[in-house]
């Protein structure tokens, strides 16, 4: 397995693989956060999650064009603006969707699966009509390209580090909102017991709408960030949906810490296995392990303790 590598090469392998795993971890976490909020906290199985991500990617594409035309001098900064634009667009569409569709389905969680699946197809076709069936190329600002050279053999991709930092920031903000803000308190109250929360004067409808919009906004941020590593096309969102659900379900749907732990364990096993076997087999082994653990712990890694 390690034949033919020198000791210093082995050190580089472990360092670079460690970072590859960390980057994959931030990618998984970033794409799962939005779903963890919507699925975990509200119980809505949002099959259109991938399309919300791609909405963010298209917003990035548009922002880059606007900057190129209007402010070529500060083109490098467009990516940061694009993330904000993506978040707002995602949240706005999420808000609208919750009002038009999702709120009628809270009592039928399984139907949300079908309804949001339909939404995902509608969105795909809308993207196709507006942006064309072909993938669009999102040009990255120069400062996001290239790698940090830590030594001769150890290099870290800049955009990987950027995704990592972004994920850390977003996760911190969300955890803070959830556990330290009044709004988070209301969300958790509604999740635990809707009638009691209502009796305590919490406006459940408003909380739901905010939560859904936030989840969609975070998904769009993820999509904006992923223009750095993936493709932007009408159906590209489908590439992420399986991994996203995997991370959220494996972590225990209602626990944000579970999502973090699960993203970490899945990404680490995936990236180290990938080094020793082919990409397809690594995926198979990761999935088998997850299925095995879910058989033993159907609730996922972390469970929210509450009185039934």
């Amino acid at each position: 397995m390690f034949d033919g590598y020198t000791a210093s090469e082995l050190v580089s392998i472990f360092v670079m693989q460690g970072f590859a795993g960390l980057i994959l971890f931030s990618v998984f976490l970033l794409m799962a956060l939005g779903l963890a909020i919507i699925f975990g906290q509200m119980g809505v199985i949002n099959m259109a999650h991938g399309e919300f991500m791609i909405l963010g990617a298209y917003m990035t594409y548009l922002t880059s064009h606007v900057f190129k035309g209007a402010f070529p001098g500060i083109y490098g900064a467009y990516f940061l603006v694009a993330i904000v634009v993506a978040a707002l667009a995602g949240a706005a569409l999420g808000w609208l969707l919750e009002w038009a569709l999702i709120r009628h389905l809270y009592h039928r969680p399984l139907d949300t699966l079908l309804a949001t699946w339909g939404v995902s197809m509608i969105l795909q076709q809308i993207y196709r009509s507006i942006f064309g069936a072909r993938e669009v190329g999102v040009e990255l600002p120069d400062w996001l390209m290239g790698a940090f050279h830590l030594s001769d053999t150890i290099e870290l991709p800049v955009n990987g580090v950027f995704v990592f930092a972004l994920t850390a920031a977003i996760s911190t903000i969300i955890l803070f909102m959830m556990f330290r803000s009044r709004w988070g308190l209301q969300v958790r109250a509604v999740v635990q017991n809707r009638p009691m929360a209502g009796a305590a004067g919490i406006n459940g409808t408003r909380v739901d709408r905010m939560t859904f919009a936030l989840g969609c906004g975070v998904a769009s941020i993820a999509g904006a960030a992923f223009t750095m590593i993936g493709s932007t096309g009408p159906t590209a969102g489908q590439l992420y949906i399986v991994d996203t659900f995997l991370v959220v379900v494996f972590g225990g749907a209602q626990s944000l810490f579970g999502t973090i732990a699960s993203a970490f364990s899945i990404s680490q096993s995936q990236s180290s296995l990938e080094f020793f076997m082919s990409g397809s087999m690594a995926k198979v082994f990761t999935l088998l392990t997850v299925v095995g653990i879910l058989l033993l712990r159907p609730q996922g890694l972390f469970v929210l303790k509450m009185r039934k």
Binding site: Y5, M16, E139, E155, L239, F275, G279
Partner: protein, 419 residues
Amino acid sequence: MTIRYSAGSRLTKAWKRFLGAAVIGGAAFTPIPALAGPALPTSQVNTTGLAVTDDTVTVGIMHSVTGTMAISETGSVQAEKLAIDQINAMGGVLGRKIKFIQEDGASDWPTFAEKSKKLLEKDKVAAVFGCWTSASRKAVLPVFEKDNGLLYYPTFYEGLEESPNVYYTGQEATQQILAGIDWVVKEKGAKTFYLLGSDYIWPRTSNKIARKHIEKNGLKVVGEEYFPLGHTQFNSVINKIKLKKPDVIYAIIVGGSNVAFYKQLKAAGIDLNKQTLLTISVTEDEIRGIGGENIVGAYAAMKYFQSLDNPNNKAFVKAFKDKWGQDIVIGDVTQAAYLGAWLWKAAVEKAQSFDVDKVRAASTGIELTTAPEGYVRIHKNHHLWSKTRIGRARADGQYDVIYETKDLMEPDPFPKGYQ
């Protein structure tokens, strides 16, 4: 007898302007059917009940315009419609204008089978231009063989097939692989190869042929890996590549994965101007998604590049852009799709009949000197003799053609010693 089309290059500039882009190349075709006296009676050119009238003939166009594959198949639809327009502008086929019925395979293989059944049995089309993935072709094959239809299939593919009812206008695997590897060995002195691919039949079969060819030359494959379709994380394999330091990365990654792969390769600091990378799966179409700046310097082995410098291609690119928009790009498969209608027309006119059996009998040896890729000829195994070319990706998303085989490569869908 072979039918020869002479290239439009002989026409004067003024004539070209007069005739306009719509009749590219074929303008010098003789005899122009419409002027060659009265068209043959329908009863004579159509004895099997196809949709042929005294002044029209109906064909089918069958690609995915919705779903995942729409990204790839759109170009083929555009090329086929352009070819039909141009043929009609010069009088049609045997004096009959081509009408087409377009069906959407919707990226779903059973739908392809169902639509081809409809085209052949209900619409009685004389020929179908369609399919893109091997899976869709395999799905429609039984229908075409049962109803004795005629399919012109545009995509480069893994080979291992030779149906009497299909003409393969793209390359089979050896036509894309062997010359490319020979070139990289000769020009770059490559000794070690790292093979990559998406995990399905085309990349696996192709890499198998590539590996056999590499090892036959006494060279070494230092790694071979496959990734699920849609895979977006390549950091681990990129680390492996960095450590193994292969002379050549041989990549057959497709679809959205492509974009992720090249972006991450660049981000990891692998400069394709220094690290040789040869691909057979990235056309100008794919580069639009990948971004030229992410793949600049990579080599691709294809039979056609949009930048090919010959009069046929210049006229083709102009006509294509005039019809479908100036910022459009044309990839290898799009050109192959464009050939389909012309090859069919040439065979029908040689056979003086639309009957599938007669068209098939007439097809072997048909030449096209007006092909944008230069010159092609139908082999008796239903594939095309074509040249292999090597292109080097530029930052603007086009390729510089830096090499082409001296001779046409013989299509060999069942290569001995490579399976």
